[in-house]
Amino acid sequence: MREILVERSLPRFAAARAAAALAGAAGGVAVAPLRLADREERPLPGPDWQHVTPLLSGICGSDLSTVDGASSRYFEAIVSFPFVLGHEIVGVVDDGPLAGARVVVEPVLGCLARGIAPPCAACAAGRKGACERIGFGHLAPGLQTGYCADTGGGWSDGLVAHLSQLHRVPDELADDAAVMVEPTACAIHAAFVGAVQPGERVVVLGSGTLGLTTLAALRHHAHPGALVAVAKHPVQREMAGALGADQVVRPDELERAVRRLTTSLALARGRSTSRLTGGVDVVFDCVGSSSSLASSLAVVRPGGRVVLVGMPGTVHVDLAPLWQREVALLGAYAYGAEQTPDGVRSTFDLAFELVAAANLERLVSARYPLERYQEAVRHAGSAGRRGAVKVVFDIGRSSTPRWRGQPQSATTPTVTHESPTPTHESPTHEKLETNA
């Protein structure tokens, strides 16, 4: 079996961090403690576990943070090395009662998966993301599949998953759509955490996968009075508009746009707009950086909410406005169960519905074989700039990248489109970036 293995090596993580600081996101991939490894089939940790062969596995922003050595040390106690990255997974079950079924893996490793009985209060309530026994039980520590030494992860051609983690994929849902279910579930959970009330004005900061799916989630599960998306790149702006943003602005336009939207006053000091006195009701920070959090605090109204959706690390931000304006800072991690008007629903069930309703498979922009993981990770690190949103691994396919639109059953695909003009960077992938 092949897998992209992450080993514990502080010097190499430090080197990756330095490289990323110079080269930008995913810049650490060449020096990070990351390699394509062969190994025996992973043993099943218990009776309700199955082997799963991934079909597609996405590259998430948190994966990039890991590769760049930028993840918070907070996670050290809840991951176990070596681990295999990849938690956005659609695959086929190899054995057990679901053998042959196409499934999406819900990666959070809660009490049930860990063999802990009775489960903690959060898991008992279906809120697996808030599990209080994380790191305990018969599994090695690992908050999710993809960070646990015992389970493997999606960047491989085989992992193990607990029956409670598996969601059968409807036949009509394509793999491209199914691989979007996990990030969409994160976005839906964030939308519920934000508890946007009808008519409230909302900013979604960041228009990568998480930002765009959050937009879709807000449009489907809330009734904001105005939904402003912040997007850097043309494809992101286009997608943000298509997924329901009322207004799409560039990062440097945000403060002015919010001031206009809310008719806020501003405390000017030589400039016309500086330090808004009002702001929007809720900001969804789908980036998780120091600057995005500072921007969030700059445009949220007194008494408003900032929901951290993108995974932050150690950030440096002036919290004086949070204090003085009594802003609520809320984390939104993973998923579980949501209180909907129709009762309590599994976030993943809601995500399956939203992926289909909002046609979120269009966010999948490029596929790579495992062998070309460094290219794939670099592409994901510069996705927006290169006109892409979600980059995925296409497991078990030929090492030739498959063109979007080509039949998924093709095992030795041939390129049927006219080749684009070669570039020095990636002669074939530029075409792969084209969105539907």
């Binding site: 602005v249 336009e253 746009a257 206009r260 008719t263 501003a266 000017a268 016309s272 707009t273």
Partner: protein, 529 residues
Amino acid sequence: MSPRPGFVLEVDRSTPPTLFWHGEGWRLERLPVGSRVVYPPEPHPALADPDAAIRHALEHPAGDSAPLSSLLHAGAKVTIAFDDVSLPLPPMRGPDVRQRVVEAVLDAAAAAGVDDVVLIAALALHRRMTDDELRHALGSRVFDAFAPHGLLLQHDAEDPDGVVHLGCTDQGEDVEISRRAAESDLLVYVNINLVAMDGGHKSVATGLASYKSIRHHHNVRTMQQSRSFMDRHHSELHSSNWRMGRLIAKAGVKIFQIETTLNLDTFPSQFSFLQKREWEWSLRDRATFHATSTALERTPAAMKRQIFQSIRSPHALTSVHAGEVEAVHDLTLADVHRQQLVHVDGQADVLTMGLPYICPYNVNSIMNPILVACLGLGYFFNLYQGKPLVREGGVCIMSHPTPWAFNPVHHPSYIDFFEQVLAETVDPLEIEAKYEESFATDPWYVHLYRTSNAYHGVHPFYMWYWCAHALQHLGQVIVVGGDRAAVRRLGFKPASSLADALEMAEDVVGRDPTITHLHNPPLFLADVT
């Protein structure tokens, strides 16, 4: 020797390249053989003794007005309103004509024993002037006598207690003007009539009015029905102002109008080539042109702006009339026409123009892209009477760097208009319907207009409406040498050279189009038949 009138040159093989203004600089362009270049008239001579002419006008008023001295008496409440920083262009060398007139009026008031005199800069919805700008316009003597005592005001169209509603015209137009002006025993208005649009009833009905009142004529419909707004008798903008002005008079507001005209001596002697015909450039002109062009190429944009904004025009007073508004304005218009009218025979397929660094709304500021559009398609396009210089469906080619740059203090709402509104649509009617009110009533813009040096929140809309007639008339607008993204945001086509622009124009108007170039400024008014 009397000054030569304006002139239409037909370009032939011996014609030297033509000067095009290009923001803080200029370009020499070879126009195709057969193109026409319309040159302004030469400056008319200045009045030999402007102060005497002013005093004479005040005591020999036009129309049914009594002489100023007989309208002033001890105990009278007198307000003197004057045109703001948007006139003249470029700002004139001291003493400014407003200083001369205001000093003469104050002398008369003092002689009559009038104590209650207030000066008001007639801003309409323009930005407040700085102290330096006020001092330049009025002179230190006036400024120091009034400003420290709070007697030098700037009109505040958003002061609910400072404006008074005088009624509605028979067309339902609200007339709401400065309370101080309306409640004075005498309102003296001091104009600079740089172009034919200025003055008349527009002075008070716009300059001292509120947004509620101004919106009745500063709108898309009015601008599209003004052919052009430089021709008072074919301008709906003026018709509306005239209705308002007559209502103001009927409401009992006593106005003593003073209008002044300036000659076309626009640029100081070191830039004399700018107001000469190219084949008449002397060796010194050519040397100056090349030296300044070379130096400007190496000068940072901000410094270039500073250099050009420091230019003071040698404009000189050519006439002054005072008295009843309409009678005065008729005399003034005749003088403006005498200096500025140039007869042009027929329209062209393509109109070219070089846009300079300044327009009425960027004095001591940045010519942002919206102002570029307004200067070209609002002001220059409308410098006609009869019919436009370019045929319907024709192409307008403008030369300007059109930087994506704004002065955030002067033009805060412009930035949002450019970033938010024009990103969505460039259709003036759609913009007016969807966005005007929210910008006009935005409390932040209102605050900045009233307390800072910001144009009113609605002002960028008016700039866009000013373009409405041209946008309706033209088949395409091309900007040569502009910031491509900014030009596209305006809805125009960018071109890197005049040759490229002319080739692009052929896609719209066909091959071998007729071309007319507006060799402007100095400003003139084309009389197109």
